[in-house]
Symmetry: C2
Subunit: 331 residues, 2 copies
């Protein structure tokens, strides 16, 4: 294989693109490449963008990329598309993006369909993000669709997580919001020119107050009281700001960028940047160890032994847990 590392570190997009394919396929070359790239990582600002379908996330990500570009920063976009676990559902979105952003040498776009295997998506996203980081992309936008485990994984991967809402979506969207608020560093009401933006903002504010009880100092009978929240967490608290945007026109984008920068400054000031970096690397380490342990176990078994146990389980003669105990003794 030709050396792809040196040109990737020097900014060559085609080499990076080839490396990413090796990484996504989990090939030997990809694994070795990650080891070589790793010392060059740790500089990028990882920004997760998530939210329900219909909020215009993809357009917002494109606009954000352009906004960061106008400041001269190199931007990579990783579009994680869990909509099609079995085929490449990410292709269409890619083509639309390409039309808007291609031709700019400071922008790199890659999409990835989610994997069926446990931890596959998280592991592959983390690896691809590292490649972008080593290749000198200073801002990495990681976009996911849906509401569930993938959003939590994005939140773990990113320094800053944007949760995108839009006015007047479906009726049980409220339930989604309540959960997703907890991973949001910044809330964006996109399509803010549509009717209902005010009531969406009010609803979000109410939920924010429940999720992030702000320090309250009050006087009662001449004495000063502080709410428990204030005493329990003396560090400067980040209350997720709400920003409005219209991705199709670019309205609100400068203000959104400012909020992102403020969050980055907050993370650095409080040491949270390092903590999130460490948590991400710990998760990655754990995933690698888990995969290696299972591969070792699997290689140590006699052929057909799993099938035999499975048949016993299917006949309900053996519980899955008892079968696991037996297999672990045999491996």
């Amino acid at each position: 294989m030709p050396d792809l590392i040196t040109p990737t570190l020097a900014g060559d997009k085609l080499s990076l693109s080839r490396l990413l394919s090796h990484i996504e396929n989990d090939s030997e070359e990809g694994i070795r490449a990650l080891d070589s790239l790793f010392p060059h990582t740790g500089k990028a600002h990882l920004i997760g963008v998530t939210g329900a379908p219909g909020t215009g996330k993809s357009s917002l990500v494109n606009r954000l990329a352009l906004q960061f570009r106008s400041q001269g920063r190199r931007v990579a976009i990783l579009a994680v598309d869990p909509s099609s676990p079995f085929t490449g559902g990410a292709v269409l979105g890619d083509r639309v993006r390409m039309r808007d952003l291609s031709g700019d040498p400071g922008i790199f776009i890659r999409s990835m369909a989610s994997r069926g295997s446990l931890g596959g998506l998280a592991a592959a996203s983390a690896a691809m993000t590292q490649a972008f980081d080593a290749a000198g992309y200073e801002v990495i936008l990681i976009e996911t669709v849906g509401a569930g485990q993938s959003e939590v994984d994005v939140a773990r991967l990113a320094h800053t997580t944007l949760v995108v809402e839009a006015p007047g979506l479906g009726d049980d969207i409220q339930a989604i919001k309540a959960g997703i608020l907890e991973i949001a560093d910044i809330l964006v009401i996109n399509k803010a020119d549509r009717p209902g933006a005010d009531s969406t903002e009010r609803a979000l504010k109410t939920m924010l107050e429940l999720a992030h009880p702000v320090e309250k100092v009050f006087q009662h009978h001449g004495k000063t009281f502080r709410t428990p929240a204030a005493t329990a967490n003396p560090a400067p608290l980040w209350v997720p700001p709400i920003r409005r945007s219209v991705a199709t026109t670019g309205e609100g984008l400068p203000e959104l960028l400012e909020a992102i920068e403020q969050h980055a400054a907050h993370l650095r000031l409080t040491g949270e940047w390092q903590k999130r970096d460490k948590a991400r690397l710990e998760t990655e380490l754990e995933l690698i160890v888990r995969e290696a342990l299972f591969a070792q176990f699997f290689a140590g078994l006699a052929p057909g032994v799993i099938e035999e146990h499975l048949q016993q389980i299917q006949r309900r003669n053996l519980s899955p847990r008892e079968a696991a105990r037996q297999l672990l003794r045999e491996a």
Copy 2:
């Protein structure tokens, strides 16, 4: 601990409820209970119900439960709510359900918020489903919100997967559909009394034809040709039917139930029922083995050794993969 197994197998709801808490908490009692219950499983029809927010899934699940009840069958509902990974977001939905369905001794309802840990959700869902099955619930409805990994996990767990759509949802809903079609055994257009139901059905039909190429036999110059799809898969093919429903009034529910029964008959006829059963048990076995391997590994490490490696990784002196190699040698 008092014996919860015997009364659970005899149909006592309070004992089942307590057992489920032990199972959800992954306690010693829960693990032992699963072993005792396992020989009594394998009888229930597991039905997954999934779809985007705003489609009225929860109401549909309630109606389905009532419809199955009218045939005298015992029904359990497991509402998997990934909207709140950190707190119990499932509580509200539960209360609404309770109002409609409580008081019927043949219905058992349980909701579960998703877990942060990898495989936590899938493992916990599988375990709780087994408890329902052993307790004699003949139909188990498993409901999830969102679009992503959790839907794929539901599809793996269930014999029959319903994907619920609704007319006129957001604009990038099409992307979701394309992926989720691949896990659907039956497509439901709920809220079918709303405008746009016809165009939703047309769109779904077009996508179905792409996803499930039907056998085509045609004549050309006096010879008979068959399309490759027909020759590659000689077994009777299941083309997901599309059914319309209005969950609020119950319209279309008898027809939906009929489609579910037809799918069950198809699964049994083709041996697919056994195959899905086996695949589910294999996944469960793998998860148990993976967790046990990691626990063993972790217990074998000297205190502080992971922290030391993490610090090396964070300083970019050591890649996560190299650290994993070192740790695996030390464990």
